[in-house]
Amino acid sequence: MSAQPATLPRKATRGSGIRGREAQAGWLFVAPVILLLGLFLVLPVVMAAWVSLSDWTGRGSPFSSEVSFVGAKNYSELLLGGGLATQDFGTALRNNAWYVVLVVPTQTALSLFLAVMVNRKWLRGSGFYRTAFYFPSVTSSVAITVLFLFLFSATGVVNKVLQAMSVSGPNWFADPRGVVHVVLGWIGVDKGPAALTEHGVLGVSLWQWLAGPSIAMSVLVIMAVFTTSGTFMLLFLAALQHISDEVEEAAMVDGTTAWQRFRFVTLPMLRPTVFTVMTLGLIGTWQVFDQIYTGTQGSPGKTTVTPAYLSYTASFQSQQWGRGAAIAFILFAIIIVMTVIQRRVIRGRDQDAL
């Protein structure tokens, strides 16, 4: 924070003269931003909080007298009801959780790897590689999804490449099978043990929770890694350039291997950036919407429905506005809780290291 007090000595002209004019101008200058953010960010959250506690069906104003307060009904239907609403929400959480678990570590590791690779001083044409890796990040998620629908279609590019290696690829976007289930199927496990199939959370059996991302969702995982690794590579590059050559050289003189230098010198110094990248990744991956809207609309077998997309369909298609708003708030809570937990874990590890 650099809200330092005035460098000029304050005279007794407070509220008038130059300082007075400055205060007026100050408020005038920030007014448009405050007004816009208040109107389209704070007010919407307040309104949606009310809607999530009401039975509004999308007709008329949500504040009209016909709309009644239903308390936490929308929330309890989602979390405790056990009906279709709970089951859909549970499925959406399952899908997105697998997506987060796979995307966040992969994009962090890959972007760090790319940054270390292109940061070598002897590397020629590093600009070319940076451009190549960053380019997918600037294109729109819609255009990338359209491209991936083509690449991973039944007779698309990926399956042709697999065919050349005499592997028959799946019909990616139409395959609802969970990846973990597929792998278990190879070793002859087709049905889960009763302990897993009979018990469930949020209307989804434990066996289904452990199904893994569907093949279709896996493509979206690959796409997310493809489009975000470039951005995060830039963050790591910026951090790498701050590590002075002297530190590296000192380590080199001590006769360490390249891997040891990376593991014990570079990586600890990159810890703050790793934290930033993982936090940004976590926040981003819980908000998958564009790709689902453009690509799969939740199919096959609801395995690509995410909470963000479910919130949209509940409101705009099923006219269950209270439910849609409630999903949005639960999602908000999940993102905050996850970020806090992650911060705790990383801080805790830091203390262990010391």
């Binding site: 953010l37 109107l39 960010l41 380019f135 255009a143 007779t155 590019v157 042709k160 963050l235």
Partner: protein, 285 residues
């Protein structure tokens, strides 16, 4: 002790170098190839796109996909809408973010600390959570299904205010004090003295908001419904989703994706230096 280690390093260097180059080339190919396929396929006829998706040179060149997009579809309308929205949002964000950034960096007024803290809090609200809420407000204000409803909610950007504030703080105070002593008002000082000096930060805001609003999808889905107000992202998303049943039409869809990518690609290559260094530039000095 250190001498043999250094020799060992040098000895393995050439081998390691080759491996590094090989790995990088393979990775670069994986990152670039999809875009080349996209471009090539958009010039192929439909059957060839299905039968021969890998090739980068069409056996039969055709511009049928582009002709259909531009001459026999709503595509030009989508394109125009995206241009209008993007230009307005970018211009608006540069103006409002720099105004507020300047006030927070330089002007002394009571409540400045509170405004700053509120901006930090606001930045942490994830965008998707606002999807339904924004629709509610846009509808209440009576600007649903208008350009105003599509543009105005995107005009303010807390992150942009921060970038501008940080940059203004790095400009020496003496410059504007000289202008003030010459009798220039606060707005004059901001507009004709400080703003021109903040060009690098303004370019950053231009890049971020151009890319952000050109690629925005969710807000346009919830803020408009009529066909005349469809933007490129929304139109192409519906093209991809809706017509999947009736023939794949990959060249058509990929051509639409190509055209959509061109403006951001141009922006990217023009400002490449700045984009690549923007994360560095902000911290270095």
């Amino acid at each position: 002790m250190s001498a043999p280690a250094a020799r060992r390093n040098r000895g393995s260097r050439s081998g390691a170098t080759w491996i590094a180059y090989a790995v990088l080339l393979v990775l670069a190919a994986i990152y670039i190839y999809p875009f080349l396929v996209q471009l090539a396929t958009s010039f192929k006829p439909d059957p060839e796109a299905l039968a021969n998706p890998l090739s980068l040179v069409p056996q039969v060149w055709t511009t049928a996909a582009y002709e259909r997009l531009f001459l026999r579809s709503d595509f030009p309308v989508w394109f125009r809408n995206s241009v209008v929205v993007t230009l307005c949002v970018t211009a608006g964000r540069v103006f409002f973010c720099s105004l507020a950034g300047y006030a927070l960096a330089r002007l002394h007024f009571r409540g400045r600390g509170v405004v700053f803290a509120a901006l930090v809090a606001v930045m942490s609200v994830p965008g998707v959570v606002l999807l339904i809420p924004r629709f509610l407000v846009v509808k209440q204000l009576g600007i649903y299904d208008t350009f105003a409803g599509m543009i105005i909610p995107l005009l303010a950007d807390a992150a942009g205010v921060f970038i501008m504030k940080n940059y203004f703080e790095s400009i020496p105070r003496s410059v504007e004090e000289a202008a003030r002593i010459d009798g220039a008002g606060v707005f004059r000082t901001y507009w004709s003295v400080v703003l021109p000096m903040a060009r690098p930060a303004i370019i950053t805001i231009v890049i971020l908001s151009f890319q952000g609003s050109w690629n925005e999808l969710a807000h346009f889905i919830v803020s408009a419904e009529s066909a005349e107000l469809v933007t490129l992202t929304k139109g192409v998303a519906q093209l991809a989703a809706g017509q999947l049943g009736q023939g794949m039409q990959y060249p058509l869809k990929l051509a639409a994706a190509v055209i959509m990518t061109v403006p951001v690609a141009i922006l990217f290559f023009v400002f490449q230096r700045r984009i690549m260094n923007s994360t560095t530039g902000a911290v270095k000095e």
